[in-house]
Symmetry: C2
DNA sequence: CTGAAAGCGCTTACAG
DNA sequence: CTGAAAGCGCTTACAG
């Protein structure tokens, strides 16, 4: 097998304690023995078993991050932000992608639990009846889902949605479609409520479609429904759906913008690359990721009875080429 | 702190051994005591410390996956394939994204090493002088990079590249641009060699640009260079660069297809969504991911002196809307 | 079927 | 500054 601390101890003629200190807590050992130990350890090809170290030290210097779907462009910016923040605090990030299988979340979280110092779960899809079990795996913070007694970072959809609806009504649209996201998605419920409220406030008629999965193909499928319904403007649950919608409308010769206005949500990197460029509601995913790191690491050394923090972040509309005045 | 095995043992009046078996190796214990133990453990909210379990059992049931950049659409299909295969073999996948910082790869691999049963490193960017150290963290398999004595899955670029160049020359193009990827990228060297060979074989003139990072913005930047050079056809290191190139050309009123032909590499999901749709060389990332899982898990229980397997996979051209006959 | 003991590979008070 | 000892929370031969 591989070289252990005991092997190095034997080779140096010192105790395991001293070797351990020379490697992990250098100040506590005589400089000359320290260097001797380190050299011998290196020569022997000693690589500390970080599992064992974590078990005794009770620390991993790792943050665990669980996301629903790494392929959804909404998540990479969050992941990058989590990594940037965690790195700046000396932690490594390990990611689990549950591939939109909500039932797996709890299992993955348990697998990670002791291997990390804290868990960030983005948009937990975990069914309600298991959510409490997930929340127990503290330190843990939810992004985009609230549970009493659990730390969370919440992105408030209402401002951005209000701006989107105002933008459309200002362009003359009176009938607005909303493409629902996944049926049980917490985010979709938030967005659905927000669009209903905003349309009611603006006196616009709202027609809902879906639910749709947050994938391009779902948007492609939505396109024909939307067009058949005669909507002049539509807001999609997310950019993936909006992009699929646009692709299919393009294909059918329906001009996005002039013929039908489309608004996405997430302001993902692709929204500026699409044709036409996609008007989208910016969701501060990066800020949310950074905030989640701060919270979960604070939690790690907070007393158990401290009230778990809840941070709120706002959204706003980014206008691009896919929205135009109502045709005719 | 949390409930330990010893706590449960005390509560049941049994030894830790029996409790351990009741939970992890149920067949070795009397059914009635087994159920009693399990019930009490559940009631006490016992959650086994998987770190400790892994340390003694020497198994994690986890596969570690290291990728250069999760936001690059080339990687998610590989990740998904790795997960699908690993799941079917009862393993969980933990992902590390090194965010295009090659120097971090070795460190991340070490952090993961004992927490997983095997490591898959996709497109290792690790500098040559550290690569051997990385390769020592066995069981490990590289995807898209070769190192003697190390298991790997290699995607052979030459077939797809030859098809791409043939396609362009058949359309009448005589001067073909190639947008290089990152300078030290192993993949770029492979692709560069392949395009040089293919152009030489077809008697086409090759003009190289770059290096460019595999990002949309780099493609945007490349667009003006390419257009100024008078190329009628260009092959990009990857789809990201190709998409950025197309976006900028669109913006300048240069029609991709009729005015200039563009070919990407990777056949990422977005290539079918772009405007126009992007002709691209399909790279069998999913197959590579699945193969890597098979190899790394085999390695885990292979004798140390077994020759590490090397698997080769082929590429092919997918023709879409971004390539047309040479103008004029 | 169950238990006592040793051990996985480290770290960390506690002495000296 | 260094070492002996106990311990982190489990698992697993070995006895019985």
């Amino acid at each position: 097998m591989s070289v252990t601390l005991a092997d190095v101890a034997k080779a140096t003629g010192l105790s395991a304690s001293t070797v351990s200190r020379a490697l992990s807590d250098p100040d506590k050992v005589n400089p000359s023995t320290r260097e001797r130990v380190r050299k011998i350890a290196r020569d022997m090809g000693y690589v500390p078993n970080l599992l064992a170290r974590s078990l005794t030290a009770g620390r991993n210097d790792i943050v665990g991050l669980i996301v629903p779907d790494i392929a959804n462009p909404f998540f990479p910016p969050i992941i990058k932000a989590v990594q940037a923040r965690a790195t700046s605090k000396g932690k490594t990030v390990l990611i689990a992608d549950v591939d939109e299988h909500p039932a797996d979340e709890l299992h993955r979280a348990r697998v990670m639990r002791k291997r990390v110092d804290g868990l960030i779960v983005v948009s937990p899809r975990t069914p309600d009846d298991q959510l409490a079990a997930l929340a127990e795996l503290r330190p843990i913070v939810f992004v985009n889902r609230e549970l009493p007694g659990t730390a969370s970072v919440i992105i408030e959809n209402s401002d951005g949605m209000r701006e989107a609806v105002e933008h459309l009504t200002a362009l003359g649209h009176r009938r607005i479609g909303y493409l629902n996201g996944p049926r049980r998605s917490w985010s979709n419920i938030q967005r659905q409520n927000a669009v209903r409220q905003a349309c009611a406030d603006q006196g616009a008629e709202l027609v809902e479609f879906g639910p749709f999965e947050p994938q391009i193909q779902a948007g492609v499928r939505a396109a024909d429904l939307v067009h058949a319904s005669g909507m002049t403007a539509v807001i999609a649950y997310d950019d993936m759906i909006a992009l699929g919608l646009m692709a299919r409308l393009n294909e059918r010769g329906i001009r996005v913008g002039p013929d039908i206005s489309v608004i996405g949500i997430d302001d993902s990197p692709m929204s500026g690359m699409a044709y036409p460029t996609l008007t989208s509601i910016h969701v501060p995913g990066a800020e949310a990721g950074a905030a989640a790191v701060d919270i979960v690491l604070d939690l790690a050394d907070a007393p158990d009875d401290a009230p778990p923090p809840v941070r709120q972040l706002e959204t706003r509309l980014i206008v691009r080429g896919s929205t135009s005045p109502v045709p005719g």
